[in-house]
């Protein structure tokens, strides 16, 4: 290798104004391309049409020009000076410098374009996110409305089918009515699940905090299932620790929902064997007890992959099962969301062909029971409603008929009206033991009637009012209490619930 000499990096020459090379004055850079009498435009096309315009006796810089020699590109800087008769041209080879500049330039431009693309993608994502959120909200709202619209007629269907089943004499009719009831109940579970899930998603689920006996809540729930499974190949076992706190602050309905979803799930997967349900305190401080509920089954278990998906909505691991017992596949995602809403944690352990264990750990505040509203279930049994004057106010004829039917059997003396206005007239003139009042009614709503309660103090100052409603959010319930309602009976209700609520109200009063 021969080291580069300074002459190799430049060339100095003279041309006339039409670009013809007059003489080489110094330097050797691309010298064999620049021969006197030839045109400099061959190598330097960028000088064409420029030379005559050069200012006289001024150094004119032309930087970063490209010249090509046998496909090799050189970056050159030029200095041009125009004299009277000719032009002096100095050409520097700056390739080594511009090589780096070029790379830097490319990097910079690429970077700017990439950043731009990223920005665009981000805005796009942002927009998609907004659209998705909107759609999701829309979906939740739609589902909530739909479920609500389905719930009311469904309630009537169930009421009538229960009525038919209890009153019919022909066996086949009783059987059909029972089928109808069962199908209706299944449908109601699905509708409730959808409604709950959409409520949770929309952030509208409100948990009630009231003193409850956790033992009783669990036992009631388990007993319901025991009754259902009677005579089958599947048994239920309840393991209770006696260190359980007597009363805690919690939402009995939602706790029952968590547990029954887990038990339902266990039943779906276990053809034969035992489902053990347990409840235990796993940690405790001055005011909080963390309680674990667990459901163990001896079913066919799940793989790790299945476990990953079970809490997703509408995911049915059992879809591949011939033994599909229905449902919208929402149970477990509701369990998860409800548990999380109670600041708890759900865990699953499972071994294929051995069984599955779901645990739910929830922290509860311990309380002492001082509420008069609390009446033990056993006590309720001993109370009766015979001869009690009950006013039923509802614009839903079907519902009135069902309540009338159920309560007449309990021996109540019933008065039925279709709106708040008619109810008000009656309340002004007659005493009732209890009033069951629907909220949404034409002419005068339940709320409006309650606001006018000073108009009927003469006969009904102490009368307990029960709000009958499908809106069962906590804010609604609180509002009803402030309005003077004794209690809330949410639709859909069971006959037992209706009777119990009424008994509690009258007993307290």
């Amino acid at each position: 290798m021969v080291p580069t000499k300074i002459e190799d990096l430049f060339i100095q020459l003279k041309t006339d104004f039409s670009g013809t090379i007059l003489e080489i004055e110094a330097g050797k850079f691309v010298a064999d391309q620049l021969v006197p009498k030839n045109s400099i435009y061959e190598l330097c096309p960028f000088l064409e049409a420029s030379l005559e315009d050069l200012p006289l006796h001024e150094v004119y810089h032309l930087n970063t020009m490209l010249i090509v020699v046998d496909t090799i590109e050189y970056n050159v800087d030029l200095e041009l000076i125009r004299a009277i008769h000719d032009v002096s041209i100095l050409i520097h080879d700056r390739s080594s410098v511009y090589k780096h500049v070029s790379q830097l330039n490319q990097n910079r431009n690429d970077l700017i374009l990439l950043k731009r693309e990223l920005d665009l993608k981000n805005t796009e994502l942002e927009n998609l996110k907004i659209i998705a959120e909107k759609a999701n909200e829309e979906k939740s709202r739609f589902l909530a409305v739909m479920s609500h619209e389905i719930r009311n007629p469904l309630n009537s269907i169930l009421g009538y089918s229960e009525m038919i089943a209890t009153e019919a004499e022909e066996l086949s009719i009783i059987r059909y009515a029972n089928f109808l009831t069962r199908a209706g109940k299944n449908l109601r579970v699905i509708v409730d699940d959808i409604l709950d899930l959409s409520r949770i998603e929309a952030g509208r689920l409100e948990l009630i905090e009231e003193s409850i006996s956790i033992k009783e809540v669990i036992e009631n729930c388990v007993n319901d299932f025991r009754f259902q499974l009677k005579g089958g190949d599947l048994a239920i076992q309840l393991i209770e620790e006696n260190t359980l706190p007597k009363f805690i602050d919690g939402d009995a309905v939602r706790i029952t929902q968590i547990l029954s979803n887990l038990i339902n799930n266990a039943i779906k997967f276990t053809q034969k064997g035992i489902i053990s349900i347990g409840i235990a305190v796993i940690s405790e401080d001055e005011s909080i007890s963390t309680i674990r509920f667990y459901v163990n089954d001896t079913g066919r278990g799940m793989t790790q992959d299945q476990i990953k998906t079970i809490f997703r909505e509408y995911e049915q691991t059992q879809a591949r099962d011939q033994h599909n017992k229905g449902g919208a596949g929402l149970g477990l995602s509701i369990v998860k969301r409800l548990t999380e809403a109670m600041k708890g944690l759900v865990t699953v352990e499972s071994t294929v062909n051995v069984g599955t264990k779901f645990s739910v750990d929830i922290p509860f505040r311990r309380t002492h029971l001082d509420s008069v509203e609390y009446v033990k279930s056993e006590e309720l049994v001993t109370i009766d409603l015979i001869g009690k004057e009950i006013l039923l106010v509802d614009d839903d004829r079907l519902n009135l008929t069902i309540m009338d039917h159920v309560l007449s059997k309990e021996g109540c003396a019933l008065t039925l009206v279709g709106d708040g206005q008619d109810a008000l007239e009656l309340l002004k003139t007659k005493r009732f033991d209890a009033v069951i009042l629907d909220i949404n009614m034409p002419r005068m709503t339940g709320e409006e009637l309650m606001r006018k309660n000073d108009l009927f103090t003469e006969y009904n100052k102490e009368t307990p009012f029960i709000a009958l409603t499908g809106n069962t959010g906590k804010t609604d319930q609180d509002r009803y209490v402030v309005l003077g309602f004794f209690n809330v009976l949410s639709k859909p209700y069971t006959f037992v619930k209706l009777i119990d609520t009424l008994k509690k109200a009258i007993y307290k009063a």
């Binding site: 064409e48 049409a49 315009d53 330039n105 431009n109």
Partner: protein, 161 residues
């Protein structure tokens, strides 16, 4: 035959090199190799029974407030200012850009070309053109060989005025 020096200027990446390549060699490449330094190509343009030999300067694209070196305009007969119809920042300050080019080059007119029209729908394109408050002479696509020849003929006509 007359030789005329013409320049293509504009933001980096708008497709100056691509327009020239399409016009001179009828080639197009999706790759982006940013131009550093000035590459010159020549082509004879014929229109209305005239022939002009264009000496086309492909100048490195600018960013932001960067200016094209004044020396480049020496002896230039016309200039094409290219922007990218799909990139706002390349036409946002077009008015100022035109002004600067006129000052540097002492040219009375600058041919304004919006490139990459293939990336937009007709509607979108219309909206872009509406947003620009200087007169856009032509919209082109180097990629789809749309209006490229026309743009250079325009430039050539401008150069012999």
């Amino acid at each position: 035959m007359v030789s005329k020096k013409v320049l293509l200027v504009g933001n980096f990446g708008v497709g100056k090199t691509s327009l020239i390549r399409r016009f001179v060699l009828n080639e197009f490449s999706e790759d982006y190799i940013s131009t550093i330094g000035v590459r010159v190509s020549k082509k004879i343009v014929e229109f209305e029974n005239q022939q002009v030999k264009l000496i086309i300067w492909d100048v490195a694209g600018t960013t932001g407030n960067e200016k094209v070196p004044k020396a480049y305009f020496l002896g230039a007969s016309s200039a094409m200012l290219v922007f990218d119809v799909s990139r706002v920042e390349t036409y946002l300050h077009l008015e100022d850009y035109v002004q600067t080019i006129k000052e540097l080059s002492k040219l009375k007119e600058v041919t304004i070309v919006g490139n990459k029209k293939d990336l937009l729908t007709t509607d979108e394109l219309e909206k872009v053109i509406d947003k620009i408050n200087v007169k856009v002479d032509l919209v082109t696509s180097a990629k789809e060989d749309d209006n490229v020849e026309e743009a250079f003929v325009m430039l050539a006509k401008e150069s012999i005025k």
